[in-house]
Symmetry: C2
Subunit: 331 residues, 2 copies
DNA sequence: CTGTTAGCGCTTTCAT
DNA sequence: ATGAAAGCGCTAACAG
């Protein structure tokens, strides 16, 4: 069932059908009614692909993220989807797993599909977009990065000042009377944003007069197990650390579990902080002090930026969000 | 840049270009090379919309869910997306918020777009699809429901036996020596699946000889606050309940927090169980005993079902998954 | 106000 | 092996 069938049955031309389909004027109420009746009779839906071919757009946005299951990403994706849905776009979600090959595949698919815009969620893409193939596929598309900065011409970015975010956590620990040279950082990822965090940590510590702050950075894998496992190593420190600033909430909770397993009390013996202010931070006990990197605001700004880019009204091309610290029981 | 431009520059016809684009034979290596050179020169990507118009498909799947931020849904969406990506489909995600009007809008958009298949995630859609407009838009499309059953012809379903799931929790509490007539159920949602759960609860309890089991069902809102708030009411029970079986992990954790705030120990004084076996259940302390409703398996089966439906090879049309109980510290 | 016609960019017969 | 031409379903001038 297509527009020709409708036109035939309503005894009009396809243009007239097209007009009522698109709510254009210059159609008598009578004709309109006649056509509408046929439309209703067959519960007709115009073919968006054919429309898209003419319009050169199917009103779709693509979100590239590493893994939509990570709360921080799913929140971002959610907000972006909801906002674009309001503007009558549909949103394709891609889980790259952080893999170059997958990123390439998705980038190609996105280029094929003539999507109207793409949002890169997470600073992993800073590196991934260095790839010739990825950047070639994405070049020219309206593109914004959520917490990232890529080397693609015309890419806009919403940045989060993670350097300042980590600094907030460090300062808070000191302000709460934690021994300054007892504060350590636990890094669990190697993305651009992760690097900013531990640089922020080290910078803050050194400005507070602690030397060799970089030696106070520990590494582990992301997640509960990574956090718990890192505790072993961190506790070898003598004297015992006063506070553990973590790069992610989940890892921080792992740390708290590891400490609890050894009978070390949080926050009495050691303070702990996380990053993202995810829902996770409310589930553990004590609840987790966490840097709020304003995921929702970031997503909202991405939408605005991308929209303005799509409409050609380049109001601004880059924004930086200042994180805030949310203090809870763990510190 | 389109296929005509390529053909012109390569001094061949568009059909030949099309052939090399689609890796068809019947092209001399020489011609192929000549064309490939031009293709590479311009980094040409064929327009998938135009292709779609001919092929009558753009290889896209739509996922309708209430809210992708809910871990159980994001896990499902993730798995579905990954699997379909392997099969070179792209996936559109829709967050309906459980709203009828939004569901309608998405259903219409999906019908327009000629998507190849749709997955309805969650039993909310059991009711939502009762709507004439929604079912009219979706009718005819290859459609699979994850943990739901809708009244649309040809809809396939992956069901989770939530009746049995709740029963598992009840039996476990009894087996652990919890006073049988002290077990209560906390319901936080009103979806089809939620109803199966508290029916399962009541059924199990009555089979164990407890009368008026339905009176032992409490209601609250979904989430941490809902759970914590419900504690007030539940503790009015005299004697004090022996175990609280909850309909969702998050609510269960709220309950544990509420109990902790009152100095009631879990599991010593009261046992608690959740549902979904989400990552949440590992974050709280004690860790939460939870019914594992096999989200990943459900998603995988959805993909298989949908794929077979799309390919016309109707191996089976409905599967039911048996949940399992994962016992942790809270019971 | 309504109809005719020319594309949108591609795939696919059907000739050659 | 290659090309010409029709058509996928729709929109948008342009006529009338």
């Amino acid at each position: 069932m297509n527009i020709y069938d409708i036109a035939e049955e309503a005894k009009v031309s396809i243009s007239t059908v097209s007009r009522v389909l698109n709510n254009k004027d210059r159609v008598t109420d009578e004709t309109r009614g006649k056509i509408q009746a046929v439309l209703d009779k067959y519960n007709y839906t115009p073919n968006a692909i054919a429309r898209g071919l003419v319009a050169k757009t199917m009103k779709t946005i693509a979100i590239l993220s590493v893994d939509i299951r990570v709360p921080h990403y799913s929140r971002t994706a959610f907000t972006i989807e909801r906002e674009f849905s309001k503007r009558s776009y549909n949103v394709i979600v891609c889980n790259t797993g952080g893999e170059l090959e997958e990123t390439r595949r998705y980038a190609r698919a996105i280029a094929h599909r003539q999507v109207d815009g793409v949002v890169l969620v997470g600073s992993v893409f800073n590196d991934l977009c260095g790839d010739t193939e990825v950047s070639a596929a994405l070049r020219g598309l309206p593109l914004v990065t959520a917490n990232g900065q890529v080397d693609i011409p015309n890419a806009y970015s919403v940045l989060i000042d993670d350097y300042a975010g980590a600094e907030l956590a460090v300062k808070h620990m000191a302000a709460r009377g934690r021994q300054r040279d007892g504060i350590v950082y636990l890094k669990d990822l190697n993305t651009g944003s992760a690097k900013m965090k531990w640089n922020g940590f080290a910078g803050a510590l050194e400005r507070m007069g602690v030397d060799n702050a970089k030696d106070r950075v520990f590494s582990t894998s992301y997640g509960l197990e990574g956090g718990a496992a890192a505790v072993n190593e961190i506790l070898r420190l003598n004297p015992r650390p006063s506070a553990i600033v973590c790069g992610e909430d989940l890892t921080a909770i792992g740390v708290m579990k590891g400490l609890a397993a050894r009978g070390i009390r949080v926050p009495d013996d050691i303070a702990v902080s996380g990053y993202n202010n995810s829902e996770y931070s409310l589930l553990c006990s004590p609840e987790l002090t966490s840097v709020d990197n304003k995921g929702e605001m970031c997503a909202l700004l991405c939408v605005q930026l991308l929209e303005s880019r799509i409409n050609g009204s380049n109001a601004f091309s880059s924004v930086t969000i200042k994180p805030e610290l949310v203090v809870r029981g763990s510190s």
